[in-house]
């Protein structure tokens, strides 16, 4: 496919007149970084048709030096790759890709292969569809997505890969829908450092209210069988400010499947209860025995949650040596919004500066702004969309955090800045090179408690 035909949904190429194109200290990868979205599906393996460094770069940074999350089943940096050379640039890489796919099928055992292209293939115009098609016709579970780095960031790539799997692997569906079954489209795997734990908690609480959940990515997914079951679901749930909306709209058009969009990832009992009740209403499970069962689950979770909160209160009310009052959030829109709501509404912290770094499409930015303006009945806050860390750090330096230093919810890039401002840093997004993350979650009931532990261990740990 030529580059003219593709759809550039991100604003990556269109900075305003005084806004620089420069990005210092990156906060996302490029489209082919969505190889990690493939790696997030159990027993799926990406095949990368790109230069020799692309797979290594995306994996080592999005996964390794971001919580040290590991390579998963397919191998991280050493997934199949054409390692394109001058020959593929001059003569095209279609033959080489055919050869690689053929050899991959001999060597690797997977339930789904996803071919992702890089800049070289997309610029020289390799007809990747024609390469992949004969394999598909032979019944090989393989799809392709054109994810050259110039097309946008790894959020863009994620939606391209998701769509490729739906259109080329899941395919047409004429059967019944299963009431109470839901497909969840939420955090960007690997890029969000805590996605595994978070998706686990999201699945747990949705099942808690009686839903059957296709979580699709991560350790709680049952892999391609779950993807095949996408069209059976009663509805799609887009959980987050914007990522997944395009997929949900596509599924609506393709299967006539409706979707519920809840922009706020719930953290803490108040948010989570409201979220679950909204899903219940939408799913039509808000009556009779279903409702009773769901309410019992919510009540049970709340009881446990508030027992811990009560114990935490002794510390929160009595600790002598100072706790932060104002905070800044620098992160992708999903976490920035979720954290801000929790910090304001649960802990009573004061928002100082909110910067959203995932470059959301223009058409959703006003909605995101509106969410932050309505963070609480009595708290409204403005956000900025910015991806260049030099600019971000200047903005943080210029922020008046009042009489004591702030706590910054950010990334490794803010580590030195927090020191400079004599504040604290909690790394909550890409890159988190100073966090080792396994199953930790920050959302839902359980995640909120872990988040409290993290915040206040950081604070207390820095005391004398």
């Amino acid at each position: 496919m030529s580059i003219i035909q593709s759809q550039d949904k991100s604003a990556v190429a269109h900075p305003g007149p005084d806004k620089t194109n420069s990005i210092e200290q990156v906060r996302y990868g490029c489209s082919i970084g969505a190889m990690q979205s493939v790696a997030a599906i159990p027993r799926a393996i990406p095949i990368t048709h790109c230069g020799p460094g692309c797979a290594d770069k995306q994996f080592m940074n999005l996964s390794f030096y971001n919580g040290f999350q590991g390579g998963g089943y397919g191998g991280g940096a050493v997934v199949p790759s054409t390692n394109a050379s001058e020959r593929e640039v001059v003569f095209g890489g279609a033959d080489r890709l055919t050869e690689l796919i053929g050899a991959t099928l001999k060597v690797l055992d997977a339930d789904l292969f996803v071919v992702l292209t890089g800049c070289i293939s997309d610029l020289v115009g390799d007809d990747v569809g024609s390469v992949v098609k004969p394999f598909q016709q032979r019944g090989v579970p393989i799809v392709f997505a054109e994810t050259g780095g110039f097309r946008g960031n790894n959020f863009t790539g994620h939606e391209l890969v998701t769509r490729a799997i739906i259109d080329q692997f899941v395919g047409a569906y004429e059967g019944e829908r299963v009431k109470g079954q839901v497909n969840v489209w939420s955090l960007l795997p690997y890029h969000n450092t805590f996605w595994r734990g978070d998706l686990t908690e999201i699945k747990r609480i949705l099942e808690g209210i009686g839903l059957k959940v296709n979580i699709l990515f991560g350790p709680e997914s049952s892999g391609v069988a779950e993807w095949k079951a996408i069209p059976q679901a009663q509805f799609n749930l887009v959980l987050g400010p914007w990522l997944g909306l395009e997929t949900a709209r596509h599924l609506e058009a393709k299967y006539g499947q409706p979707f519920l969009h809840t922009p706020v990832l719930p953290i803490g009992a108040k948010e989570t209860g409201a979220f679950l009740r909204r899903v219940l209403d939408y799913a039509g499970l808000n009556k009779g025995r279903a409702k009773k069962k769901a309410e019992a689950f919510i009540k049970d979770e709340e009881t446990r949650y508030y027992k811990y909160i009560e114990d935490f209160t002794d510390f929160y009310a009595e600790y002598w040596w100072g706790l932060p009052a104002k905070f800044a959030v620098v992160g992708d829109s999903a976490y920035a919004l979720a954290l801000t709501r929790f910090l304001v509404n649960q802990l009573g912290l004061i928002p100082g500066r909110q910067i959203v770094t995932d470059n959301p499409p223009e058409e959703v930015r006003d909605d995101i702004r509106a969410q932050f303006r309505a963070i609480a009945d009595d708290v409204s806050t403005e956000i900025e969309f910015e991806e260049d860390s030099f600019t971000i750090h200047q903005k943080l330096r210029e922020t008046n955090f009042g009489h004591k230093p702030p706590i910054i919810f950010g990334t490794t890039w803010e580590r030195d800045l927090a020191k400079e401002l004599k504040g604290a840093i909690v790394e909550v997004g890409f890159p988190s090179s100073y966090e080792v993350v396994l199953s930790r979650a920050y959302v839902g009931y359980r995640g909120a408690l872990t988040l409290l532990e993290k915040i206040y261990t950081t604070t207390v740990g820095a005391s004398a």
């Binding site: 996302y28 990868g29 060597v107 690797l108 610029l123």
Partner: protein
């Protein structure tokens, strides 16, 4: 063949040295096939390096590109900025190289800070209309933000294909800003091995930073071409009354500029130092020390004596050598006892592996196999005294299973089955995860100086003892994982079976 600094594009390793990335056999056979061919190189090599037959497999796994090596060299110069002229994906590497930079600074006792890499962040429109205006803007940003002493520009696959004229912008802004603005041509597709990226960085530094007319000859200054490793060279060279000039990582632009004033150039690995050391000798008469690398007793002895010889300090080396031998001997005896019967496997860069295998043999560890990420049949100097593979063979004997492969994990399975090591030594990522799943622990050498010199022998021995204890973790894991490789593949004895015609 002489190094050509006249053009801004570096010649790739395969062009200059005949570098290969696929080979399997006995180390002695590879040595025979290589250009040195036991000392006869000068007459035989001619203007082109000798070719070694190479195995090309249709199945390949992700490698590493030249641009990444530029990031980890030019991007780690303390008072410079590296611009990545590319779509944002190349910039993703800022994360790992920042972590390496910070840890390297800490290792050397320097103030820790984030590195200075800036992406021009090219998008779809730029692929059609060109990205030069954005490059200019980013160069100006780099200057306004950091007032660096030099600005490097790393090219990318995308900018090479669309044909951006980087030279013109760089030249114009170099004049305007009054600092070197240095294009480094390092497109991933241009070379089959990432080490060309080392050469690309060094080429740019030689052309635009190193002082053409040295201000003063510094007779006690030795260039040490390394990465971010701990400072083990200062105390060693101080014994000879010499000072260390570490380049390229963690150096300042002035450190780089004064390389032409030094008396000699050394390194920890000829793979890394080959290009710049040879060019410094060719262009500025700075002697490249041509000796075995500083690993094990024989290598370190010969290396020290050669440094002493070329710097006219011969008398001072012998006393130090004798003292060090005596100092490390008692613990070495203990380590040899503790490591008796253990098998090791080395999978690192090429010349570095030659050194490490020697250290393992000094420790009494059996080394029946090794995987090197590429092989240079000759280094740039073409001087047989640098034939690190021959030194290994002559000093420590045969390595029966010697393999060249650019980090192909699928081949690593069969390689490990052949020798069944107790532990492996690695540098690049991607191989240890497989070994781990087979119950074999790895020593990752983040500090590349860990095994250098006499103390290095002990260091490595201690690290082996530490990692052998890890076996418990790995064997527990091995019982609970499934590999992604097909049964047919796992049954193959020949890791290159797909590369041979009979496989079809």
């Amino acid at each position: 063949m002489p190094i050509n600094l006249k053009t801004s594009v570096v010649e790739s390793r395969e062009q200059r040295l005949g570098t290969i990335i696929g080979w399997d056999g006995k180390a002695s056979d590879l040595s025979k096939e290589s250009a040195y061919a036991r000392g006869g190189c000068e007459s035989k090599c001619g203007q082109k390096a000798r070719r070694v037959c190479e195995l090309n497999s249709p199945f390949t796994q992700g490698s590493v590109c030249s641009e990444q090596m530029v990031e980890c060299q030019a991007g780690n110069v303390r008072d410079a900025v590296l611009i990545q002229h590319s779509p944002i994906g190349c910039g993703t590497g800022q994360v790992i190289y920042n972590s390496i930079y910070r840890n390297g600074l800490a290792l050397r006792g320097l103030p820790v800070s984030n590195l200075h890499l800036i992406s021009t962040n090219l998008g779809e429109r730029d692929m059609v209309f060109g990205g030069v205006a954005k490059l200019e803007r980013t160069i100006r940003d780099a200057w306004d933000r950091h007032h660096p002493k030099a600005i490097f520009i790393a090219t990318s696959c995308a900018t090479a294909i669309i044909g951006d004229d980087i030279e013109s912008v760089a030249g114009q802004l170099e004049t305007e800003l009054g600092i070197p603005v240095i294009p480094l041509h390092c497109e991933g597709f241009k070379s089959k091995h990432w080490s060309t990226g080392f050469d690309a960085t060094q080429h740019g530094i030689l052309r635009q930073i190193v002082r053409k007319v040295p201000e003063k000859k510094q007779d006690d200054l030795v260039n040490v071409i390394n990465l971010w490793g701990s400072d083990v060279f200062t105390p060693i060279l101080a014994e000879l009354g010499l000072r260390v000039n570490y380049v390229v990582d963690l150096a300042t632009v002035e450190d780089l500029a004064q390389m032409s004033e030094a008396v000699a150039t050394i390194g920890f690995c000829y793979t890394l130092s080959s290009y710049m050391a040879a060019a410094l000798e060719q262009e500025f008469g700075v002697t490249e020390v041509k000796a075995p690398q500083p690993y094990g007793f024989a290598g370190t002895d010969a290396w020290l004596r050669e440094i002493a010889r070329v710097t006219n300090r011969e008398g001072r080396a012998e006393d130090y050598i004798a003292r060090e031998h005596a100092r490390v001997q008692p613990r070495l005896e203990e380590l040899r006892e503790l490591l008796k019967g253990k098998k090791g496997y080395v999978s690192t860069g090429s010349a570095y592996a030659h050194g490490l295998i020697g250290v393992l043999r000094e420790l009494g560890v059996e080394v029946d196999g090794s995987l090197v990420f590429h092989h240079d049949p000759v280094y740039d100097s073409q001087d047989p005294r640098q034939d690190s593979l021959a030194h290994l063979l002559d000093t420590y004997g045969e390595v029966p299973q010697f393999t060249v492969g650019n980090r192909q994990q699928y081949q690593f399975y069969a390689l490990l089955q052949r020798v069944k090591p107790d532990f492996i030594i690695i540098r690049h990522n991607g191989l240890a995860p497989l070994a781990a799943r087979l119950g074999i622990p790895a020593i990752p050498l983040g500090d590349e100086h860990h095994a250098v010199g006499y103390q290095g022998i002990l260091n490595l021995g201690e690290s082996i003892l530490d990692v052998l204890a890890h076996k418990k973790f790995h064997q527990d894991l091995a019982a609970h994982v499934r590999l992604p490789y097909r049964k047919w593949w796992l049954e193959q004895d020949d890791p290159f079976v797909l590369a041979r015609p009979a496989a079809e």
